[in-house]
């Protein structure tokens, strides 16, 4: 049952990533033409634009959601690759624990960075 749940989340995370990655591409590469998210006639990576996005609650939520879904999607994929090597059940448990702790740690660090950058 656990694999059914994990796979469903994996697919769901993929869909979320698709949407948010689309948003990222629009902001970073298309917005120079659109001028919706960034100040007109400026680059997306200009410091004032970076600060502007970091201070926006919408973007902070976006960053945290994208980080969470991408981490889950990627680490679940890595787990599948490792499991294909047919490890012992003890090693499987160890892989699960390492990926879970690593994932939570990376998510915590990234989420803290996204939230803390509001103070810029």
């Amino acid at each position: 049952m656990r694999d059914q749940r994990l796979w469903t989340w994996h697919v769901g995370a993929g869909i979320v990533i698709l949407v948010f990655l689309g948003l990222h591409m629009a902001i970073m590469h298309v917005d120079t033409l659109l001028g919706v998210f960034n100040a007109p006639r400026t680059e997306a990576i200009d410091w004032e634009n970076v600060v502007h996005r970091a201070q926006s609650a919408f973007f902070v939520v976006t960053y945290v959601v994208l980080l969470g879904t991408a981490l889950f999607h990627g680490l679940y994929g890595l787990r599948n690759i490792v499991f294909e090597l047919n490890p012992t059940s003890g090693l499987k448990k160890a892989v699960n624990v390492v990926l879970l702790i690593g994932g939570i740690g990376l998510f915590g660090l990234g989420a803290w960075a996204a939230i803390a950058s509001r103070a810029l």
Partner: protein, 281 residues
């Protein structure tokens, strides 16, 4: 398109293994005169009659129906009875037992793990009305459209070629594999069946379809044209929908009602008289 050149002689390179006498498998080479229409199975039988009387393999029907003679022929899992020598495009025929299985002897693979996985997925109709199932009063109703949903998967002959071609099964023997998963999907899709939740005990776990990353080799090698890779992807979808509680539970089909008394339509001509007179008539 199959090669049309016909060799005068065929060289059989056969992987031999006798668990009593051999420490590991080895290759033996035999030469046979080619005869028109010769299949790999014909060649093996000729070898057994002449040069290799102890050669062992499984075969039965000789017409691609029983699924016994799955072998690794010229680098691809195939049915020996269904493979013409000319089809291979060379007069060198390399024959080995199906990969991904232990070898019992010569060309005989140990298919028990496959059939154990098959059995664990309950490949039969599961219904609440067991009395009706075992002592039916009539047929279970099913439309042609509903039949089409699973028909191609029911052509599987359990030869094991898909299991031998599966890259996931090659490294992970705990994975159920394309044949058992394809057959589980065949029954899950059958409207006469109500056993999805019973099969889910295995399907939703680690042995289920999650290990498949859609290499598609199983479908490419299937001698019956079944598409187990498709079945596995469809099963993933069903299981995701089930987790999200969006899966439509199709109750097992009801027993078909007795047809009303039939009357002959007008305008239908009588059948022509028989052209052959039966004896004693």
């Amino acid at each position: 398109m199959a090669a049309t050149n016909t060799p005068s002689e065929v060289v059989f390179r056969v992987r031999r293994f006798d668990p009593v006498a051999d420490a590991s498998p080895h290759w033996d080479e035999y030469r046979l005169p080619y005869t028109t229409g010769m299949t790999v199975l014909d060649g093996l039988k000729r070898l057994k009659e002449t040069a290799a009387p102890t050669l062992a393999w499984r075969s039965s029907c000789r017409m691609g129906v029983c699924g016994s003679c799955g072998m690794f022929i010229n680098g691809r899992p195939r049915l020996a009875c269904n493979t013409q020598i000319t089809e291979l495009g060379t007069n060198l025929v390399t024959v080995a037992p199906l990969p991904n299985f232990n070898i019992i002897r010569d060309l005989v693979p140990d298919l028990f793990p496959m059939f154990d996985a098959h059995q664990a997925l309950k490949p039969y109709l599961i219904r609440d009305d067991t009395a009706e199932q075992y002592e039916p009063t009539d047929e279970f109703w099913q439309s042609m459209h509903q039949l089409e949903e699973y028909l191609q998967f029911s052509y599987c002959i359990k030869c094991g070629c898909c299991m031998a071609a599966c890259p996931t099964y090659a490294t992970d023997p705990t994975y159920s594999g394309p044949m058992p998963l394809g057959q589980a999907h065949r029954y899950n899709t059958d409207t006469r069946d109500g056993g999805f939740q019973a099969r889910k005990e295995v399907l939703a776990g680690e042995q289920g379809p999650w290990r498949c990353h859609y290499a598609g080799e199983c479908s490419r090698v299937c001698p019956k044209g079944v598409d187990p890779a498709k079945a596995i992807q469809l099963m993933k979808r069903e299981l995701v929908l089930d987790y999200l509680r969006l899966r439509k539970e199709s109750c097992p089909a009801k027993v078909a009602g007795k047809p009303a008394a039939s009357t002959r339509r007008e305008g239908i001509p009588d059948a022509p008289p028989p052209t052959v007179q039966r004896a004693g008539v």
